[in-house]
């Protein structure tokens, strides 16, 4: 199944056929609404518990407002639900305990995650928030794969990693921000040293 044909119903997008079974309505923080099957929701531990706790009937789903997911935007949520619909009914994977982890990225997932890094960041964040184990596995693997064959200099650019010098500068700045007196004391100490004093006090 292609990413484009995944049966997530995005009210704002072209209509995609919905199977006749229990589904739920969710709303993103930018007011995009989605209809997602009960089976797909089971991929998300967070949402699954939420809908279980709400105990909605089919009528409730239609009559009550959509369930708000306030910290995920529509573009991200669409990807999340496309993934959940594609993988609905699949068992939640059990980690075999290997570290480094052995994770294969299926073709569908690879295409779904063929997105810019900003959106990928949001997708990972959403997968973590909604506790979708396998989506988190594959998206983390996608990020990990960015390191393959990279030199230290390239890795700094790929992952926006500060150098030792930048870390030191940030640490100093943080200390000074926390204690504005620290710099004054340090300057006073340096001045006394220049003047030949042996003791600060």
């Amino acid at each position: 199944m292609s990413v484009e044909n995944a049966p997530v119903v995005d009210v704002d997008e072209a209509a995609i056929p919905v199977e006749k079974k229990m589904y739920y309505r969710f709303e993103s923080n930018d007011k995009k609404e989605f209809r997602v099957s009960e089976l797909a929701i089971q991929q998300s531990e967070t949402l699954n518990r939420l809908v279980e706790a709400m105990g909605y009937t089919s009528e409730d789903v239609e009559n009550k407002p959509a369930i708000a997911i306030e910290n995920i935007d529509g573009k991200t949520l669409k990807l999340v639900f496309q993934w959940c619909e594609h993988h609905k009914g699949e068992a939640i994977p059990v980690d075999d305990g290997s570290v480094p982890k052995i994770v294969e990225i299926p073709e569908f997932d690879a295409k779904l995650m063929d997105i810019d890094n900003g959106l990928l960041f949001k997708l990972i964040w959403a997968a973590d928030y909604l506790n979708i184990v396998q989506l988190l596995n594959v998206s983390c693997k996608k990020v990990a794969n960015m390191a393959q064959g990279k030199t230290p200099a390239q890795l700094r650019r790929v992952y926006l990693l500060p150098s030792d010098e930048e870390d030191e500068a940030a640490k100093r700045a943080a200390q000074e921000a926390q204690d504005p007196r620290a710099r004054e004391v340090e300057e006073e100490f340096e001045e006394r040293k220049r003047q030949g004093g042996n003791s600060f006090f």
Binding site: G97, I102, N117, F121, D128, C140, K141, V143, L155, P162
Partner: protein
């Protein structure tokens, strides 16, 4: 476009690190002290074992215990093997206090095994620095197999280095392996082929084994040589009883003895002719098996 990995939530960042391979993690630790600290603290290797091989170069690999295809290789080579024309795969690497070491990513012949090579003027320094850095990052990986095939000129330092570790199995080939090398190994299984140890040295080794003054973890020893040995002399002073076992008519064995160690542990010694890989020379060998942790009632 970059991906700000350290802005990820802690557990997700940890998952990303845990999803990276050994080589990528190792290179990541070269980017800053902070990243090195993160990798050391967050990535606890599980379900992998380490194998070290001294062949024409020094090679250290990490292999998944349940999937041998999951393997990554670190290599120390002489500078003469460095191919700078492989740019941009080649780059300078910092190891310990040494900076600018010629390094590069290489593909195995089958193309599936990632390899990180480093190239040194001084192989001994390379071995020491590279190994120490790798073990600092991945400290708790069980040491499964040590293979020593060539690099005879480095045997002194190799065995001195190997004496500091407990390893499950050591496989060696060559004429340069000495008695003190053999005695220095803390291994459960030792296999030495094409040995030039004399009957006296083999006798001394077995005697030390028998009175528990060396190789106290050894459970299995396999030693072969291109000559026929004097078993009566070799087994002298050992507490052995020859067993009645079916032997080949040409006198090539096998001959078997039960062995009692001074501490009450027991085992068997077998001597027989092996199939030789050299058509010009016949090959013979001893196999010693010791049941550790069990004493004869």
């Amino acid at each position: 476009m970059s991906f700000p990995i350290i802005r990820l939530p802690y557990l997700v960042f940890k998952m990303v690190l845990e999803s990276m391979g050994f080589i990528d993690l190792f290179i990541l630790t070269r980017t800053s002290k902070k990243m090195k600290r993160y990798v050391k603290n967050y990535v606890k290797v599980r379900n992998y074992e380490m194998n070290v091989d001294f062949d024409t170069h020094f090679e250290l690999n990490f292999t998944n215990k349940s999937n041998e295809k999951q393997v990554e290789v670190f290599v120390v080579e002489t500078i003469e093997k460095y191919k700078s024309e492989d740019e941009p795969k080649c780059f300078p690497l910092k190891l310990g206090n040494v900076d600018g070491i010629n390094s590069g990513f290489y593909d195995s012949k089958c193309g599936e095994v990632p390899i990180l090579g480093t190239f040194w003027n001084d192989m001994t320094a390379g071995l020491e620095k590279f190994y120490n850095e790798i073990i600092e990052i991945f400290p708790d990986v069980p040491f499964k197999l040590l293979g020593i095939e060539h690099l005879e000129q480095y045997y002194g330092i190799i065995f001195q280095w190997a004496a500091g570790f407990t390893v499950e199995k050591v496989e060696m080939t060559g004429e340069m392996v000495e008695l003190n090398h053999l005695k220095s190994l803390d291994a459960s299984i030792i296999s030495l082929h094409a040995s030039t140890l004399s009957d006296q040295e083999i006798h001394d080794f077995l005697l030390a084994l028998s009175n528990n003054t060396s190789n106290t973890s050894l459970k299995a020893l396999d030693i072969s040589f291109y000559r026929n040995a004097d078993c009566d002399f070799i087994l002298e002073e050992l507490d052995v009883i020859q067993e009645e076992v079916p032997t080949r008519q040409d006198g090539s064995g096998p001959f078997e003895w039960s062995l009692m160690l001074d501490n009450g542990e027991f085992g068997t010694i077998t001597y027989e002719e092996y199939e030789s890989d050299d058509p010009e020379r016949r090959c013979w060998g001893f196999e010693v098996q010791i049941a550790r942790g069990k004493t004869f009632q």
